[in-house]
Structure formats: structure tokens, C-alpha cells
Amino acid sequence: MEMFLQSLISGLLVGGLYAIIGLGMSLIMGVLKIINLAHGQLMMVAMYVSWSAWNYLGIDPYLSVVLSVPFTFYLAKFLSKYLLNPLIEKDSILPENQVLMTVGIGMVLVELARFLFTSDYRSVQTSYTGQAWDLGGVSISIPLLIAFIVSLLLTAGLFYLLMKTDLGRSIRATAQDRLAASLMGVSAEKITVLTYGIGSALIAAAGTFFLPIFYLYPDVGPEFTAKAFVITILGGLGSTVGAITGGIVLALAETFGATYLSSGYRDAYGLVIFLLVLVFLPGGLKSLTKV
């Protein structure tokens, strides 16, 4: 029973983290209609910003979110305005050119990070790293708990933004029909740039809150790009609630699989669920909730 509870709690907490990683990807995929393969790499950039703030300026990793999020937001806006948008305008030979562009952006970011910070593994050490509450034999990692709470807040915030504000309506309109939105006076180009920025800011927040739990090196990104992709499909494109359920479902599948079956195949359990969802629920989990 203790083992079941521990797996459940571990799975939920890691799921919260997966959710914020998936949230940004889901938003970008919904509006830009592309898989952002530079997603994990943008998270890596934000992690390096936080790590530098901690290492050189002594700023607590959680406080450095005020640096890493704006930095990644403006970087992503710049990337989408000057590198991704021009490709939408052109009738290119391959419609996938934008996706290829994100691959290129990702590579450049990784090598820049290697140039600036070398391939060394980095991590932050704070008073709360490695701290855990012991609740009757079940251990709850405090940094993971904080990341979980933040991910809930971010999801709620994004939900509010999309559903209740003008900007959100414009984003949803562009996602549904780019041309029609333009005819209604929405600047599709601006919305695209902004969406890429917001999506990247979310992954930046994820990266910063992830730093005290994990570690950092230039190639940390790709694995999380793949995770984000799975979560997005699990949850359903462009859905905030879908992203958080997708994240939690994926993490629970991994954790329970690892505890009760064999941990060597941890990644396979998530992918089995992924396949089942694709076969039986092609719209993702959001087709159950309708939001």
C-alpha cells in the first residue's frame, strides 16, 4: 500500500512537471500548426539563464524566473518573427519547412550553449534541493511539489487567458481559421509571433522550476521535446486541460509501469498509452472534456 501511494504521488508530481512542458507545445501546435522541435532546446536556454543567475549573481533559482521567462519570451518572438513567419508567407516546396527550421534553431541553440558553457553537467544546490516531507512513509519531494503547484497555477492562468480575454479569443480564432480571423481584423502574423513567444515562456517557466530537481547540459532538450510531443497528442491539440491531463497520465503510466513491471522499459509504457489514445481517441483526451 505504501508503495502504491508513493508511486501515485511521485507520478502525480512528475506529471505536473510534464504538464507545463506540454502546455507550451500544445499552444504552439494549435495555432502555428507545426511541431516545434526546438521546444526542449528553448527550455535548455531558460535553464542556462536560471543557472547563470544562480551561479554568477547568487539569485535563487525560483526568483530567476523573472529573468528566464522574459528572456525566452523575447528570444522566441524574435525567432518566430524573423525565421518562422517568413516561411508561412512563402509558398515553399515543402510545407514542412517551418518544422525543419525549428530543428535548425534547436541545433544552433545547443551548439551556442556548448560554446558558452561547455558540455559540463551543471546543477544548482539550494537549501531546498533534496528536501522531502515524510508523510507516514511516503516521501514528497519539496521542489517537485512546488513545481506541481506552479504548473497548476500556470494552467489556470493560461486557461483564463485563452477563454476570457480578447487576446485569447484572437489566438483561438487564428487557431481555428487563420484566413477568417484575418478577415475579422485579427493580425494573424502578430498573433502567431505572440503565441510562439507565450508557448516558449511557458517552457521557460518549466525549465526554471525543473532546475532544482534535475541537472543541466547542452543536450538536455531533445528528450523533453519528445515528451512534450507525446503529451500534446495525448491531451489534444491546443487544449490547456488536455495538456495537464496528458502530462499526468503519461507520468502515472511511467511510474506505475516502472514500479510494478520493469523500470527498464519506462519510456515504453508512456508510448503504449500514446498508441492506445491515437487508436481509440484520435482527438486526444480533450475530446472527453470538450475544452
Binding site: M3, S123, T129, A132, D219
Partner: protein, 411 residues
């Protein structure tokens, strides 16, 4: 027209000469290929080994190089992937025309590159790739009698022998009754776990369970819980550096206190392990192949010079292996008497018997292996934030800290 023909004639003649890479008149540097992971998740180790090669190169060339000629290393990045490693070996052999390969970090990449070297009959001095089959001719469709057809040589011991020093320490001092194995699901991890299970059987230690994981896992708690449930005396882990740190950090969070934690080299001896795991690294034992305080001539000097040149926390056994491999290469080339053909280099490799900062190097045959350098391994332990050599006793620079009081060291 005439000029054109002349040009073509000249070009084709020069083309002919370009094949003859070892002509005696050459005075430029002798280029040796080195395959290492310089990008990707194993880049940290690859960079350390490259730095060590460069350090050795500067020293060798300052002392007159190879009979007056300089030595040079052509590095190819294998990115930690076997297919890229294969391509890297092919490029070095066919495009750069190197007469010899060195390097080789991860087991699966090294094995893939070794197959290429064997195919092109190019000597390959492996410095780290540790899976047993690399020096087993059977894996290349040869037998142990085919030494003259087998082009792979290895400096470091195979993974099945990493724990030989640990074995004596366990049987003489700690005497655990049960063990739980946790390993990475790669060639290195799986083979290492299997061979340690055999060792355990020999020592009368009962294996209570084995768990594999994939590198880069965020949450190790399911594995650790399964281990905690069966209450082993000892936990034996085969992991690269950051997984090692995550394992120990989360073991501390779970308050999982077996009598001892032991790492199988690889990640557990690196400074980055201590930095990331923090207090959770205290008291952890690890098998190791080298330590800077060992009474090997040149070991401490290498360690100090490395820090002087590259800063940071200094090299562990990986650096020492690469540094010494560079010296073995230089020694072999010196004994080629100016004829740097692949066959001549191979003959010189066979006769290698020298002392390096990593210990004595001599390629011998035993069991199913040939061209394998046999050596003793040691045991280190993290004590008060420093890595201390604790076994064998006559070489140790600190007593073994055991039994471990987790309440004190994990606080």
C-alpha cells in the same frame, strides 16, 4: 591543350603519391585518429579525454616528438551513437588516411568503430570502451589464435573486471550477505550487472533483485522503493554521472539506508557526482581504475598539470586512460623505425611493455580475450566531500569509513 594534358599528368602522378602516406621523406606531423563523444550527453567525458590527449601531445612534441617528427591527433566526434561512431572510423581511415586509431568511449560506439577498424585492418587502441567482447576475437568471427589478424587492443580492463579490487574488499572487510543491483539499460550497464551477479555468487552474496533504467530518468523512486522493500545489505549501481547523482539524491529523500552503496566506476568517481548529489554522495564507495594519489610515477603530475591547463576539478580515471593512451601511441610509433604502415604499427603494439601514468601497459591473452591490458582495480570512497582511496590497504590514503552512520552524514 598541351598544358592541359601536362596538368592532368601532374595531377594523376601527385594522386598516386598521395596514397603513399608513409613515404620516408615526409617530415610533417604523424596523424593518428581519435574517436570520442565530443557532443551529445557523454560530451563531458569525451572532452575530458580530448583534453588529456592534447596535454600528452604537447608534452610529447616538446620532448622531440616521434624521432624528430611531431605527433598529431585528428579527432572525430561520435556523438555517443554507434552509427556515427562507425562513420567516424570510416572517415578517419579512408579520408584522413590515419595508420592507427585511438579513443573509444562508450561500449556500444567503440564496438561499432572496432568492427570498422578490423575490416580495414587498422590498429585500434581502445582507451575506455569496456564491454568484454571488444577484445574477444570471437565477436569478430576470429579465434584466440588469430592474434596476427586481430587489430583491436585495449588499455582499460573489461567491465567484468572493474570490480576485482572491490571483490577482495567485500570478502575481507565488509562481508555483506545480500545485494540489490541497479543498472543503466545499455551494453555497459547490462553486462556489468551480469558479471557482478556472478561475482556475488562466488562471494556468497545473495542477489535480491535487479532493476534497469534508461539514462536521463527524472524519477528513480520506483526503482529505489523496490530495492528498499527487500532490505539489501548493499546496493550496487552501474550508472553514468548524473544518473548516479539522481539515484543517491532520491535514495536520501526516501531515507533508504542499506549498509553500503557501491558504484561501479563510470559516474561515481567524477567531481560532478559530488557537486550534484551533495550530502547524498557521502560514504558512497566506488570501484575505480585509477586515482591520482596512487604510487604510479606521473599520476600526480598528470593530475596537477591537467588542472593547471584546463582548470576545473581535475580528471578522473577517464582522463588518465586517454593521457596514457597518447603515450602508448607515441611509444609504439617510436618503435616503428620510420615505417608507419598499419602492419608495422600492429607489430610494435604487440611488443608494447611500458609504464604510464595509468599503470603498466602490456597486451596479453587470457581466457577468451587477446590484446588485453590486465590490471588491478581499486576502491574509493567519498569522505567529507573528497574522494579517498580506501582499498587495497597498502596503497590507501584513508581508512574505510564503515559502518556508515547515515544520520550523521546525510544531515
Amino acid at each position: 591543350m598541351k598544358f592541359g594534358k601536362l596538368l592532368i599528368a601532374l595531377l594523376s602522378v601527385s594522386f598516386l603519391f598521395s596514397f603513399n602516406g608513409c613515404s620516408k621523406k615526409e617530415t610533417g606531423p604523424i596523424k593518428i585518429g581519435v574517436i570520442l563523444p565530443l557532443t551529445g550527453s557523454k560530451a563531458k567525458f569525451g572532452t575530458m579525454e580530448k583534453n588529456a590527449y592534447e596535454l600528452a601531445k604537447a608534452e610529447i612534441n616538446a620532448k622531440g616528438g616521434i624521432n624528430g617528427r611531431k605527433i598529431d591527433f585528428a579527432y572525430e566526434d561520435d556523438t555517443g551513437k554507434p552509427d556515427v561512431g562507425r562513420a567516424a572510423a570510416e572517415k578517419l581511415i579512408n579520408v584522413d588516411k590515419v595508420p592507427m586509431l585511438a579513443g573509444g568511449y562508450s561500449s556500444s560506439v567503440t564496438f561499432a568503430a572496432a568492427a570498422v577498424a578490423q575490416q580495414y585492418r587498422t590498429p585500434f587502441l581502445v582507451n575506455t570502451g569496456s564491454v568484454d567482447k571488444i577484445t574477444q576475437p570471437a565477436a569478430f568471427n576470429l579465434t584466440t589464435k588469430d592474434g596476427d589478424k586481430f587489430y583491436i587492443y585495449r588499455m582499460n580492463p573489461p567491465v567484468s573486471e572493474y570490480a576485482s579490487g572491490l571483490e577482495t574488499m567485500l570478502s575481507q572487510v565488509i562481508k555483506p550477505k545480500t545485494v540489490f543491483l541497479i543498472h543503466e539499460n545499455t551494453t555497459f550497464g547490462t553486462k556489468g550487472a551480469k558479471s557482478f551477479a556472478k561475482t556475488a555468487a562466488k562471494l556468497g552474496i545473495k542477489v535480491l533483485g535487479t532493476e534497469a533504467y534508461s539514462s536521463g530518468t527524472v524519477d528513480f523512486k520506483p526503482i529505489l522503493l523496490n530495492a528498499k522493500k527487500v532490505k539489501p545489505d548493499m546496493v550496487y549501481m552501474i550508472s553514468y554521472v548524473m544518473d548516479a547523482a539522481m539515484l543517491m539524491k532520491q535514495a536520501r529523500e526516501l531515507n533508504f539506508q542499506p549498509k553500503l552503496y557501491v558504484g561501479a566506476g563510470a559516474g561515481f568517481t567524477m567531481p560532478a557526482f559530488k557537486e550534484n548529489a551533495g550530502k547524498a554522495s557521502e560514504g558512497v564507495f566506488s570501484a575505480t581504475l585509477w586515482h591520482q594519489t596512487l604510487p604510479i610515477p606521473g599520476a600526480k603530475a598528470f593530475y596537477d598539470n591537467y588542472i593547471k591547463k584546463y582548470g576545473g576539478d581535475g580528471p578522473d580515471y577517464h582522463g588518465a586512460e586517454a593521457y596514457s593512451a597518447a603515450y602508448v601511441v607515441a611509444n609504439v610509433l617510436k618503435r616503428c623505425n620510420g615505417n608507419y604502415s598499419k602492419e608495422n604499427i600492429k607489430k610494435a603494439l604487440d611488443k608494447t611493455d611500458m609504464m604510464t601514468a595509468f599503470g603498466p601497459v602490456k597486451f596479453t591473452s587470457y581466457g577468451e580475450k587477446i590484446h588485453q591490458n590486465k590490471m588491478t582495480t581499486y576502491v574509493v570512497q567519498w569522505q567529507n566531500g573528497a574522494l579517498k582511496l580506501v582499498w587495497p590497504k597498502n596503497l590507501a590514503n584513508a581508512p574505510i569509513y564503515y559502518p556508515i552512520d547515515y544520520k550523521k552524514i546525510w544531515k
